[in-house]
Symmetry: C2
Subunit: 458 residues, 2 copies
């Protein structure tokens, strides 16, 4: 394994809205840049900051509807600004692409959001314009309002959502990988051939949900298929990730919780016929840091005062599909099957002795969720990240308390320490996002299911 493959990866995850993951802090008078979330100058500044910090990836999560479980509708998500309003991440990344040179640009897009044909075309266009720096986090929505926005009567159930996702990925893979031969865009002035028709193919996808004729309207881009990402935590989600994803976002706040999850993903990847190192596992972590431990603790205490409990309940009610405003929070935790919450649940449970686990309540879960941060000086945070690395985690997907300060602080105090220790890159390598992360590419490896040929027509 080369040096570039072992290095610890740095991702920044946020959303194109005024409150991403830690709600209420937007009210703090100092944080005007986050409140004015729609201003492009703030985003250009953040992208350049991340590039200065040699971050691998700016990743924009997304929702395509308003959380509507807490209180039975979306009003509370509007009231507390919980990922609402939320603007289109692909449009923002396109605006950031020319202002950056190396930063990976990742986005979430649900298989419910767009028909595969225009989606694949927009992704290819942005992969081209960014010089092959695009990543796609494949998700299925879990918000009822999202289904209603897209004309569905109800949200499909969990298994049905994954069947949709399987078909959707097959359709877009065919457009990206099979519609154009590598050398078909000849634009030969002498012969007058712009594209060789024999090198361009219809895909003739006819599935349960979608039909797509093709050919793809975009010639092969630097990566063809963008870097594929996934965050599913359920068994079905992990299997999906093991088959498709090149990067997985873990919800695992301690190295102890992360280790078996990492091992499980790698095992599933092997079972799916892929190499276990073809999946990079990034832990979603929140860091509060400053020049000393004391200063970091003071900053953390101040930020915590601004957290809105109601705002957090609005979001978690959506994730858990349970109205936590109507639940006795001291009730024992039942098992629940929701993508993205399994890791958190496991992590909360791991913190208490086995005999006490059945007594864990909803309140314990909630506290565990938004009170679990890495707080300390740059050295201390670097120590903790090294423990994650030792547990097999490939990198961090940094979740901000406040934007952009959460990222700026990390770059000021933590990145130099990580660089000094040789844990992270000091400068970017050339090439596409896939090449930067894996040291190979720019295309998917041949054992990926997108590349194993599907039957397509002419």
């Amino acid at each position: 394994m080369s040096e570039s493959e072992r290095r610890f990866l740095l991702g920044a995850v946020t959303m194109f809205n005024g409150s991403h993951a830690v709600h209420g802090i937007w009210r703090h008078p100092a944080f005007d840049r986050q409140r004015q979330f729609e201003r492009i100058d703030h985003w250009l500044e953040l992208a350049r900051t991340l590039e200065r910090g040699c971050f691998d990836l700016l990743f924009l999560a997304d929702v395509i509807g308003a959380y509507d479980v807490y209180g039975g509708d979306w009003r509370a998500s509007a009231r507390y600004g919980v990922q609402f309003p939320s603007y289109d991440p692909l449009v923002l990344l396109a605006a950031l692409a020319p202002a950056t040179k190396h930063l990976g640009l990742g986005l979430t897009s649900s298989v419910f959001y767009q028909h595969p044909f225009p989606f694949a075309r927009q992704i290819s266009t942005l992969d081209e314009l960014s010089g092959g720096r695009l990543g796609w986090n494949i998700v299925t929505s879990v918000i009822e309002n999202a289904a209603h926005n897209m004309g569905m009567e109800r949200l499909p159930d969990h298994d049905e959502r994954y069947r949709w996702a399987e078909e959707y990925t097959q359709a877009v893979y065919k457009l990206w990988e099979q519609s154009w031969d590598d050398d078909a865009l000849v634009r030969d002035a002498d012969t007058g051939v712009f594209s060789d028709p024999d090198g361009v193919h219809e895909i003739n996808h006819v599935g349960e949900r979608w039909s797509v004729r093709g050919p793809h309207l975009v010639a092969p881009t630097p990566q063809r298929t963008p870097l594929l990402m996934q965050a599913g935590g359920s068994p079905a989600g992990r299997d999906f990730a093991a088959r498709h994803a090149e990067a997985v976002f873990l919800v695992a706040n301690t190295p102890e919780v992360a280790a078996p999850v990492v091992a499980d993903y790698r095992r599933r990847a092997l079972a799916a016929g892929r190499a276990e190192n073809d999946i990079k596992l990034l832990a979603a972590l929140t860091v509060v840091t400053a020049d000393t431990e004391q200063a970091a603790r003071a900053k953390d205490a101040e930020l915590e005062e601004w957290i809105s409990d109601e705002g957090m309940l609005v979001m978690l009610s959506g994730h858990m599909q349970t109205d936590l405003g109507a639940v006795d929070l001291d009730r024992p935790l039942a098992d629940f099957e929701t993508d993205g919450m399994q890791g958190m649940l496991a992590e909360i449970r791991a913190r208490v002795p086995p005999e006490q686990r059945t007594a864990l309540t909803y309140r314990d879960l909630l506290k565990g969720f938004w009170r679990n941060r890495i707080v300390g000086s740059g050295e201390q945070v670097a120590d903790r990240l090294a423990e994650f690395a030792a547990a097999g985690v490939d990198g961090v997907n940094l979740v901000e308390m406040v934007r952009p300060e959460g990222f700026e602080d990390f770059i000021e105090f933590v990145v130099p320490v990580l660089q000094q220790r040789g844990m992270v890159q000091r400068e970017y390598r050339d090439g596409t996002l896939r090449e930067k992360i894996f040291g190979r590419g720019p295309r998917l490896p041949p054992d990926h299911p997108a590349v194993r040929r599907h039957p397509v027509g002419v």
Copy 2:
């Protein structure tokens, strides 16, 4: 009428591909920037050039499938590079937005291309990021392959397409105009209210084709609804434009042809309950210019040598939905009902005495299409544009022979003359695209159907 309302408007229309309207010229050895159409640096350069020339608008046309009538399939469009491949225009405009400050950014998007919810969200996002500089040309596709790409068995017929367009516009208007009150995004740090839920509304659109619940995920943008554009030439298309469009692109190569068309649009606008000056009419014109008439004629003669007759036939076969490779081109012209071709047909007919019109052939039409350019020095071109202005035309939508040289030449030789004559602006006025063009705004005027309230729920 204020000065700003009377000035002659300058638009540049092209496409995100290697051959937009005049095919074959990409083979000329000097035109490498057009051949390398996917390079973002070329587009950034073009956008800055247009802004230097005080252009009102960079407009990107689009197709969502390959022309597939000539020869019975899409192979010839690939072979000759006729608008194929074609990349997503919205993604490109997003990339250009931060690099420009005043230039209007217009795009074609077919009502077949995206579900109204994600489309409205992407448009709103880009209107916000560009400071209110976005325009949308509402089209329905006329390419069978486009329908197949989007999962339809066949292209809906002409009238059905316009019914789709009516419903689609109603759905997106509701999202843009009615889902958010102007003052609902309060983000009040003291009360902790991010958005006032009482000022945010579901739209509950339930139509024949689409259902959209809402609320819209984007708060009101500078223009709310982007500047609305249309190019329909058929009677149904003109009625649609008269109801919806703020800018219309005419195919009318002479002032004599343009005058009655302009009058007809204004009459239809009045009949639709709008003010006749609420529609700006821009003639699509191709200009070849240089520092002298002689140099311009020499340039034109050289360019013409590079035109590919086959390439032109591929495109026109698509527009006319007639395989011109299989037609005797000396056959008399039958009437045909195709948007965008009526103006051209009228213009060809107007050039010959009435008694000879029945003898016009397909070959006459084709020649008329791609041999009709304004060729001359800056003074001569300005004289001709003044004749268009006298005929009631509000501006030009400049179609390039070759990109970017066609636009660069116009800015070098023609724009200074027009500026000296006071016909066009010397500097941009502040504000949104709508304010720049109409001297009022930034929102639609109250007599526009998007603003006349539709019934929506909470």
